[in-house]
């Protein structure tokens, strides 16, 4: 039995009925009186100088209310990291990728807006373009941003310990290279928004975003409005996976158009524009050299990585750091050297996607660890168990594993998959493989340098005391955060979940950095818990005065006041409560316990509105070296997976048959949601491992910019996933909770790579493992 009344259960999500019945409101469902439709003109060329833009014909088209370019928008630069603000709303000197943004129009309907776009005349002078890392870094290559020679957007050089000296003590040194492909997160709802600049000069943006707060700041900065005059509201969102974790061009353009026209303006990306906006997982080129002792002790890792970044920075600086820093764990690794380079190319910008920066690196390394285990004659699980960290360990790059159920995860999947009877014993064509991973539970620092709180929350009791209203600016994007926070509030306050009503995703509710870096459960969770505790204390303080009982001798549980010592005579309070509810038929009977509702009504009568606030900011984390902040977190989740698959020896087709998946999420707030994240991660991992790749033609145009040709797994491609929740008690998490949203994807790809090796004896170092790639590898081997 759980010691909790609300959390740690399988409570039904608070939004599931609305979503199942179609009542949940998404941007596409929204309409406002007088609303205009916007459309954005995007470059057909990958790299070109803009000689002129003429919007006069577009403006003359009946129904067109505004057409804007950089002339109207101005040239204020923005982006994700202030160190690399390299975007403007509209291009002015040149375009840097197919889909780069040039102008926008607003018209009375979408047909007219589209027709207006076709009337905008742009003169270009086409320039040579670079699409690959090699092209971009070669001598004499065209430069995307003058300030960044050789198109190096960012580089990282770190060394912890002394790798070369450590290699001298090693018995085995192994080098491998690995490359993944550019991803699209394939969220179901394309970006969309409605901007409404009202007559009082307040700008409200309704947007499909993961980060209302960052969008608010970007709008205020670029459009030169006070933050207090900008409100960002997030309706229900059909997922984001990192791609919606920064302001996009249509959000800015819609606001600009609304400010110009004084009318609400709606804008949407179509699916192709989702691909042209990009910002999903980079393509990474990793080369890793690992040194170990005969007994399997990991000694050192030398790691070099190049990222094909696309035309702008987006999250890329964090990405190139994460690609290195996230190998610090979950194994004890005393020496680590990392050289990372993020390169600008004339393709849509890449950014952050689930498992930010760490997924390809993890795949490369975990496959290499398997190769090492084989050469040492060790079971790959034993190699991992030997090196794994435990709670309290600190990595060589100063990441503190305040809790870490790594051992429990490994043992759970070993047991759950019947590893010892399968590993090395399956027939040809069938394979089993495993891998591990870990991830941050929220970035230790905000994206902009700041001492800001990462999350604030407000809880207000209704005057009858029956309901707690929770207000948070956090972002429910499908992952279930609203439910988690309602549960945390109910648990901390001691009331049933039905007594909590929650509103979120509105910058008017406070500050919350949003849904990225797997941060909300831990960080927003802390803020909500603190607010709930404050409310509870305020109610108990009033009771304490009324009943002359010290606060610490009382508690609230399941909606009832608990008196730890002798039960006092509270009939006076009850009489007062009942007097205020004459005619009510549900007034408490004399023998009933004192309810929370009665108590908080009494508190309201004494104090007015009972409002509690909460906030959270991580303590100072990490080392002192350059880039030490990236990878820091108040806590780390970890996971292990075992995959079983078969390979068709004639076609090369891989069928994933079973996945045994264990994840340490600290205390599980909602067990069903935790499993949902685990299964969703497996699905995304399988897609990247087997099918997904954004493909371009030789002009930099996406050739598979739809979900027919960009292949994500279907329900039929999903194996049975046996999810095992491992619960460590995270000292830095609310009720001991930490992440599951992103870490859960880490082991999937390498577990598949290792299982393919087990099945067919081939190591493949390039994703995706399409049937053709596997078939080709088998054929090359057959030829000898």
């Amino acid at each position: 039995m759980s010691q909790y009344d609300v959390i740690n259960s399988r409570a039904t999500r608070i939004d599931s009925q609305d979503k199942a019945t179609g009542r949940a409101v998404f941007i596409d469902d929204m309409k406002m009186p007088g609303m205009l439709y916007g459309a954005i003109l995007q470059s057909p060329l990958a790299h070109a100088e803009i000689l002129s833009i003429d919007t006069s014909a577009a403006k003359k088209l009946p129904g067109v209310k505004a057409a804007v370019t950089s002339q109207e928008a101005g040239l204020i630069k923005y982006g994700v990291s202030p160190a690399r603000y390299d975007e403007t709303i509209f291009c002015y000197d040149k375009v840097r990728h197919v889909g780069d943004n040039i102008a926008a129009v607003a018209a009375t309907d979408l047909e007219t807006a589209m027709a207006a776009l076709s009337l905008i005349k742009v003169e270009y002078r086409e320039m040579p373009a670079v699409f690959t890392v090699e092209e971009a870094m070669s001598d004499g290559a065209p430069i995307l941003h003058e300030e960044y020679p050789r198109n190096i957007c960012a580089e990282v050089h770190q060394e912890f310990g002394d790798v070369e000296t450590a290699f001298k003590e090693c018995d085995l040194i192994k080098t491998t290279s690995f490359v993944n492909k550019r991803q699209d997160a394939a969220f179901i709802e394309p970006q969309g928004c409605i901007a409404d600049y009202d007559l009082s000069g307040t700008l409200t943006l309704y947007s499909s975003t993961q980060v209302p707060h960052y969008v608010q700041r970007t709008l205020a900065m670029v459009l030169k409005l006070p933050v207090g005059k900008v409100r960002v509201v997030k309706p229900y969102v059909g997922a984001g996976f990192g791609i919606k974790a920064a302001a996009n061009h249509i959000e800015l353009a819609a606001c600009l158009l609304s400010m110009k026209t004084g009318r609400p303006v709606k804008m949407n990306f179509d699916r192709e524009q989702v691909f042209l906006h990009g910002r999903a997982r980079h393509q990474f080129f990793h080369t890793m050299t690992t040194g170990v002792k005969k007994d399997g002790t990991l000694m050192a890792l030398k790691h070099e990585c190049y990222l094909n970044g696309g035309a702008y920075s987006s999250f890329g600086i964090a990405t190139v750091y994460y690609a290195g820093s996230l190998l610090g764990g979950p194994y004890r690794l005393p020496n680590m050297k990392y050289d990372g380079y993020r390169i600008y190319t004339n393709l849509p910008a890449c950014g952050a996607q689930r498992g930010h920066g760490g997924v390809a690196a993890r795949a490369c390394w975990e496959q290499q660890l398997d190769m090492i285990a084989e050469e040492l004659g060790m079971d790959p699980i034993d190699l991992r168990l030997k090196n794994m960290m435990v709670a309290g360990d600190v990595t060589c790059n100063d990441l503190n594993m305040s809790s870490l159920g790594m051992k429990e995860c490994i043992e759970a999947v070993k047991e759950g998959s019947d590893w010892k009877n399968k590993k090395g014993r399956l027939p040809k064509g069938k394979g089993i493989g495993m891998a591990c991973g870990f991830f941050v539970s929220g970035a230790g620092y905000p994206i902009y340098r700041s001492d800001t709180y990462h999350g604030t929350a407000v809880i207000k009791l209704t005057e009858d005391g029956g309901t707690a209203l929770v207000y948070t600016a956090s972002a429910e994007i499908g992952q279930g955060s609203d439910t988690a926070f309602a549960m945390i509030a109910a648990e901390a306050l001691g009331i049933p979940l039905e007594c909590v009503r929650l509103e979120s995703g509105d910058t008017d509710f406070g500050v919350d950095l949003g849904a990225y870096s797997s941060r909300q459960t831990l960080m927003t969770g802390h803020a909500v818990k603190e607010a709930a505790e404050s409310v509870k204390l305020q109610v108990l303080e009033v009771l304490s005065r009324e009943l002359k009982i010290p606060v610490y001798d009382m508690d609230i549980k399941k909606g009832v006041i608990v008196f730890k010592k002798e039960k006092p005579d509270f009939s006076g309070l009850r009489t007062r409560y009942i007097k205020e509810h004459r005619g009510w038929t549900d007034n408490p009977a004399p023998e009933e316990d004192l309810s929370f509702r009665e108590a908080s009504r009494i508190a309201y009568l004494a104090k007015g509105s009972i409002v509690g606030t909460g906030k959270y900011k991580p303590p100072e984390l990490g080392g002192k070296f350059k880039g030490a902040t990236v990878g820091t977190s108040p806590a780390y989740g970890c996971s292990a997976q075992v995959v079983e698959l078969s390979v068709d020896m004639e076609t090369g087709q891989i069928a994933i048959e079973k996945m045994t998946d264990a994840h340490d999420c600290g205390r599980a707030i909602n067990r069903t949601s935790v499993e949902g994240q685990m299964e969703g991660s497996v699905s995304m991992g399988i897609g990247e491992a087997l099918y997904e790749e954004v493909k371009f033609d030789d002009k930099g145009r996406v050739i598979n910019a739809d979900l027919a040709e960009y292949k994500i797994p279907t329900a039929l491609d999903m194996p049975h996933v046996e999810t095992i929740i491992v619960e460590s008690n995270e000292p830095n998490g609310p009720f001991g909770a930490k992440e599951v949203g992103e870490g859960a994807i880490m082991p999937t790809i390498p577990a598949i790579l290792n299982a393919v090796y087990d099945a067919v004896g081939l190591r493949i170092f390039e994703l995706p493992l399409t049937s053709e790639r596997v078939w080709t590898a088998m054929k090359i081997r057959a030829k000898g």
Partner: protein, 293 residues
């Protein structure tokens, strides 16, 4: 993506529909399930001024067996094909193809006529239909003609259909005794996929355990239209079925196809898969022959 503007017509009878087709000619397109046409219209690949919906014409929605002839109306949906006892019993490979097409949502809308008339080289129904030697009825106001499906396809998106003609029916002679057919489609993932290669093979024997009398092998995605593996078919005639024989037929089929490199796969891989799928579908066909004895 927005649909271009068009006039929408909803005839209730076939003569009415044919009349409209002859009136509007090239300016019109028949609309069946719309799963292909709507996308092409949104992408502005086609912009017909008139859409003539076939969905209210009941006579296009029936599947029946009369004598030794299975007749399937062009507006029978793919979902109905997957559930039809008639189809499963007489043309199991067509049923396999129908089950492989799209997703439940698509199958509920998509029709057999639309799958044929769109003439995509990767489509899931033509291979088995051709393997069963199906014919199609093409109808216009002034009369109708019966065309062998083999002769119907002219190239990607190109068919024997004239601007004023409708495809109204698919006719399949119920297969002779000791015959069987197999269909396999191969894509990147298990469903909702454009095939990389698809193959259907039909064989009939001259006696329960006899020699191969007829063979038809149809290959998709490896040419401008669905191709017959002629040399593989010839090779099989008069021989006794065996795994070894089917493997050799697969080798022959690889020479009968003309795949190209594209972003879905290399020509080399597609050719190799023709070999594998030919071998496997022949084995399926033979399995069906034996299971019926």
């Amino acid at each position: 993506m927005l649909l271009p503007k068009f006039d929408f017509h909803e005839p209730l009878t076939l003569p009415e529909a044919c009349q409209m087709m002859s009136e509007f000619g090239r300016k019109a397109r028949p609309l069946a399930g719309g799963t292909d046409l709507m996308i092409n219209m949104k992408k502005k690949i086609v912009s017909p001024e008139h859409l003539i919906s076939l969905s209210r014409i009941d006579e296009l929605k029936a599947a029946q067996c009369s004598g030794n002839m299975l007749k399937i109306g062009s507006c029978v949906t793919v979902a109905e094909l997957t559930e039809s006892e008639l189809v499963r019993k007489n043309c199991s490979a067509l049923c396999t193809g129908a089950k492989a097409l799209g997703s439940p949502l698509i199958r509920n809308l998509a029709t057999i006529g639309g799958n044929i008339a769109s003439a995509r080289p990767a489509a899931d129904l033509p291979p088995s239909l051709m393997a069963y030697n199906a014919k199609v009825v093409l109808k216009k106001s002034s009369g109708e003609r019966l065309v062998l499906l083999d002769d119907f396809f002219k190239g990607p998106g190109l068919t024997e259909l004239q601007a004023d003609e409708l495809l109204t029916e698919i006719q399949i002679e119920t297969p002779p005794p000791y015959s069987g057919c197999g269909y396999i489609n191969m894509g990147i993932r298990k469903a909702q996929d454009c095939n990389i290669v698809n193959v259907a093979s039909f064989i009939s024997l001259d006696a329960p355990d006899g020699l191969i009398k007829t063979a038809r092998i149809i290959m998709g995605c490896v040419g401008p239209k669905h191709l017959r593996a002629c040399s593989a078919e010839t090779f099989l005639i008069g021989k006794k079925a065996s795994e070894e024989l089917f493997a050799q037929a697969g080798e022959a089929a690889m020479k009968d196809c003309s795949p190209i490199d594209d972003f879905r796969g290399s020509a080399e891989y597609k050719r190799a898969m023709v070999g594998v799928l030919t071998k496997r579908t022949l084995a399926m066909a033979y399995e069906e022959v034996r299971s019926e004895n």
